[in-house]
């Protein structure tokens, strides 16, 4: 396989939910071996993009290739084979609540391999050590803090040694210390394991410190892309609004509504 080819290659992709277009003519290429951030205002379909990349939903039209595989023609079995090469970190960690931390991390190994108990134990402890939670192996998910759950989920996501690691909003609701830990882990895992990372987030400042490349999504398209520094100097209105965190701009402060004055003055009882 061509190592230079992008790991995710999306061309002219359309996707609509209940007739409302989420993406219209989306083009995005995510290079191998780098940390790529996908940012954008809420509701621009960042999570939907992840679901498309992981094959949880399929596009209405356009091309989408992941790790050289055409997602449009994959059978369920082929999709599952491809997913073993991906790891995904969900927003809340999505740990299996019936299992201990150790068993959560061991879960993919037990399901997909016939490794001996001894080897599983070694692998799990190595991954837990990498996220700094070897000491928490016997705890149950309910006993963990938000940041710890996410680190356990991260250990679980890397236990099968994936090529591609996907993070869905990894910073939401974390205290500054946990946030710093996750940021450092994203960078360190990417470099030491030689994998590709995709981080969906809207935390502009945080993500700028680790990402090699940033894409800004808005209105179903990529409106800007490049190194984090380039984005800060981008003159486009929408980029300025997003990076600067301005309340009003191309993304309006007000949700579309009828004229304010006439609605206040109207006698109708109906809202």
């Amino acid at each position: 396989m061509n190592q230079r080819a992008p790991i995710v290659d999306i061309r002219n992709l359309d996707y609509a939910v209940n007739g409302r277009p989420v993406f219209a003519g989306l083009d995005i290429q995510i290079p191998r071996g780098k940390v790529t951030a996908v940012m954008g205002p809420s509701g621009t379909g960042k999570t939907t993009l992840l679901r498309l990349i992981t094959g949880q939903v399929s596009a209405d039209s356009g091309e989408i290739q992941v790790a050289g595989q055409d997602m449009r023609v994959l059978s369920r079995t082929e999709l599952y084979v491809l997913r073993r090469r991906m790891g995904m970190l969900f927003q809340n960690g999505a740990l299996l609540t019936d299992f201990s931390v150790f068993e959560n991390v061991a879960f993919p190994l037990r399901e997909h391999t016939d490794l001996t108990e001894r080897l599983i134990r070694q692998l799990v402890l190595t991954k837990l050590q990498a996220v700094g939670l070897r000491g928490a192996a016997e705890l149950m998910p309910a006993e963990l803090s938000g940041g710890m759950s996410r680190r356990v989920a991260l250990a679980r996501a890397i236990v099968m040694d994936p090529e591609l690691l996907i993070y869905d909003e990894p910073f939401v609701g974390l205290d500054p210390i946990s946030l710093g830990v996750i940021l450092r882990l994203i960078r360190r895992l990417n470099d030491t394991l030689g994998i590709t990372s995709i981080v969906v987030s809207h935390d502009v400042q945080e993500i700028s410190t680790v990402a090699d490349q940033v894409f800004l999504l808005s209105g179903g398209k990529v409106v800007a892309g490049g190194a984090p520094q380039e984005l800060k100097t981008n003159p486009t209105e929408i980029v300025k609004q997003f990076i600067g965190g301005l309340a009003d701009g191309p993304v309006p402060f007000h949700f579309p509504a009828p004229d304010y004055f006439s609605e206040l003055m109207s006698r109708s009882e109906e809202p």
Partner: protein
């Protein structure tokens, strides 16, 4: 008005179709899950063993009531000795399977539905899919089979304890002759009565477990959605059990 009725009717048919389709998916995955029996035995414990106390207590009381009512009724015709037969046939053919299924829907069905619904709401099912583990195979089918296996066992236990309860009241308290209580029962209750009970409890097991896992698996991933799935599980199970009970009873005549 007619249009609305028609719409409701087609909606109901659509719902039934998707439940049946879901059942086929479960059955299709069953052989592979049977190879990992430890997953199923865990669920037999969850649905079956943990329902034992409530099933045994209910069985005892239902049997005792049968003993009391049956004695009063039979006494009018001077045939108290038939109490053993009457209570046993009532329990084995009817009350055992039906009451067990209703209790099972309330105890195990709701637990299954809310567990699966919460797993959906907290992304645990999506996480499994992302780990290339089919949640139907890993989570849903073992729970379904656990329920299907547990139900006839529970119904059997219910009936046995119920008969003991009837004996307790009829023989020990009301003074029916012990020898005729048991011997009449043994000569009058036939294998087909027991078969009918087993068939019923098996069918109820399939129906209750299917409704519970279906409601949980497709629950709207919100607090309200999981709550609704749990309620629907109990209500639908109860109606379906009683309806199927009539059909099977008619079929065995």
């Amino acid at each position: 008005m007619i249009g609305e009725l028609w719409e409701n009717f087609t909606d109901a048919l659509e719902g039934l179709g998707s439940v049946v389709h879901f059942l086929f998916r479960l059955v299709g995955n069953t052989p592979r899950v049977l190879l990992r029996f430890s997953l199923i035995s865990q669920q037999i414990f969850n649905s079956g063993a943990l329902s034992l106390i409530i099933i045994m207590l209910s069985g005892l009381f239902v049997g005792m009531v049968l003993g009391l009512q049956g004695f009063q009724l039979l006494q009018r015709f001077g045939s108290e000795e038939a109490l053993g037969t009457a209570a046993t046939i009532g329990l084995v053919k009817e009350l055992g399977p039906v009451v067990t299924a209703l209790l099972f829907a309330g105890r195990a069905g709701t637990a299954l539905a809310s567990e699966l619904g919460l797993m959906r709401a907290t992304d645990q099912l999506s996480a499994m899919e992302m780990m290339a583990v089919d949640p139907i195979q890993r989570v849903v089918v073992p729970r379904f089979l656990g329920g299907v296996i547990a139900m006839p066992l529970l119904a059997g236990i219910f009936s046995v304890i119920g008969i003991y309860g009837a004996q307790l009241v009829g023989v020990q308290i009301m003074g029916v002759d012990s020898g005729s209580f048991w011997s009449q029962m043994r000569s009058a209750v036939s294998l087909s009565d027991v078969t009918e009970g087993i068939v019923k409890s098996f069918v109820f097991g399939v129906a209750c477990s299917l409704i519970a896992v279906y409601q949980g698996y497709y629950a709207t991933p919100t607090a309200e959605g999981v709550g609704r799935a749990t309620t629907t599980t109990v209500v639908t199970s109860a109606v379906v059990i009683l309806f199927l009970d009539y059909l099977i009873t008619a079929a065995f005549l």
